[in-house]
Chain length 347, copies 2
Amino acid sequence: MAAIHPVVLSGGSGTRLWPRSRKHMPKPFLPLVGERTLFEATLGRCAGDDRFASALIVTGAAHLAHVQAQAAAFPGTEVIVEPEGKNTAPAIALAAARLPVDAIMLVCPSDHHIADAPAFTQAACAAAALAGEDWLVALGITPTHPETGYGYILRGEAIPGGFAVQRFVEKPDLATAEAFLKDGNYSWNGGIFAFRAGAYLDALQRFRPDMAALVQRSVVDGRSEGALFFPDVDSFGAIDGESVDYAVMEETDRAAVVPAVMGWSDIGNWHALRDARLGGLDDDGANTVIGNVELVDCRGVLAETDGPRVSVIGLEDIAVVVDNGEVLVTSMAGAQKVGKLTGASSQ
Amino acid sequence: MAAIHPVVLSGGSGTRLWPRSRKHMPKPFLPLVGERTLFEATLGRCAGDDRFASALIVTGAAHLAHVQAQAAAFPGTEVIVEPEGKNTAPAIALAAARLPVDAIMLVCPSDHHIADAPAFTQAACAAAALAGEDWLVALGITPTHPETGYGYILRGEAIPGGFAVQRFVEKPDLATAEAFLKDGNYSWNGGIFAFRAGAYLDALQRFRPDMAALVQRSVVDGRSEGALFFPDVDSFGAIDGESVDYAVMEETDRAAVVPAVMGWSDIGNWHALRDARLGGLDDDGANTVIGNVELVDCRGVLAETDGPRVSVIGLEDIAVVVDNGEVLVTSMAGAQKVGKLTGASSQ
């Protein structure tokens, strides 16, 4: 089988890891779990392995400096610089249009954590094999709890190496999420996809012909500059942005899902980050600290500081984060609300 | 009746309000409740009232600058500068020896909060009247909860204006404290006393003759410098320090207690300070903040900062304190342990 082309999407920012994550230093480019940044780890999972070609990164001008600095260690990497963010469907289409039609793409968000890299590789290869048969393939993350913040994928008929998708489900309420977890046939949609480039573009042409045409024109009229590619601003700017889920996956009858158990986390907030740092959803009361921190009688505390000493006494399941003049203290249950804080929303 | 002489004790420091309270800026000199410092409020309670003479302050050289700066607004104040701290019995004896033998002293710690000043004045006058009859009088704070951090006073026979003391009890365990609270005849010992100067010195002469002699000599050999008085270093330094409770109150058979309900708090830790700021032991979930603070879904939270923004989400009954490069986060239940933190003990 030909090498798989990692397509790393590095857009968006996210404010729920404020104050550590900032507008100009967003989540993918921070060493949140271990010493590598999430972006470096995403590239690293596919590097030094003959089954993968060098990566194609899609990012925006705002993050290009971070991308170039952190991708420098991965030779052969190319970068498509989006004139503006138009969500995932056009971003993936740009990559598809720059690759040979028969290239197998593995679309990877760059702000997720995957603890079990070999399990990832195995699932990616299975997904790539199905993509080679013109399935449009999602990796399906096996749920560990009734999460209401993700979309779900219901498995249908078994096919070699995976399952046909019966349906995609948008973020459910808690009762529904609990039913999905109990049912056992639902996976989380983690935004990791395998496509044959030509098959993706064909599907886009069928379901979103205007978007497909504008992406095609922005590539034809774009320009290369070394390892960078700049799509045409006017054509790309005219696109009505949409996610790959809406534009393609929920429209096609060729959607497949490959279940994966790989210690995946979207590091969506401080609660998820604590769990990832502790190596999973532990309940043994361990704490995780970075910097000058003293904990007394604490359980399940994440504390990190970029300078000032942090002292915490008698608390459980909270995060204390000190970064560049901001001090955040949140319960794990409240972590979803961090993005709405004045500090996070006014940066 | 002759005017009562306030004797304000301003020694000690206390580390349980770290990082706000520091070695060189201790608790009495900070505006912890309202705009006045605890020290200013202590002087203020007896100022502008004909029943009180101007105050006599006993402090150490380390805090003299704070004392002078904050006492400047209270004319006629005199200051005795202890060469070193020897606990309360010698400090009170210094003041007694500098006053006429028939002066009625009202000994007041300078690091407590009293919400109801008129109730304080009323109790002080009742205590002073008893002191005029050579009782050695303690104000007895009516307990509001089974506190294990204070000494207790058991009332005996009623006397006009108060009660003879049946016994003093050292810090009890919780079960004992609960029994005391239920019993109704126990008061907290808040360290506020009324003595006739001569009666106090007589008692000290009787129970601690060495201490009495050394204090007397340090005053005779001391020197005045304007409104300051410096006891002789050698004599005072030779004293074996002891509290007024041990040296006098627990020895005498002339101890009396005047019960007082006056919203007293020793502001002994962040928990007590939160309650004082909220006006008592409320359980209505109110929060109290100072500085650039945003609270979301919080109850019973004290948050204060000297600069960096503090954002708190989803927490109950905690204190978050940011002061000069230190960040403290503690549960109210853990507030007693603040003094043992590395930051508090290594300053």
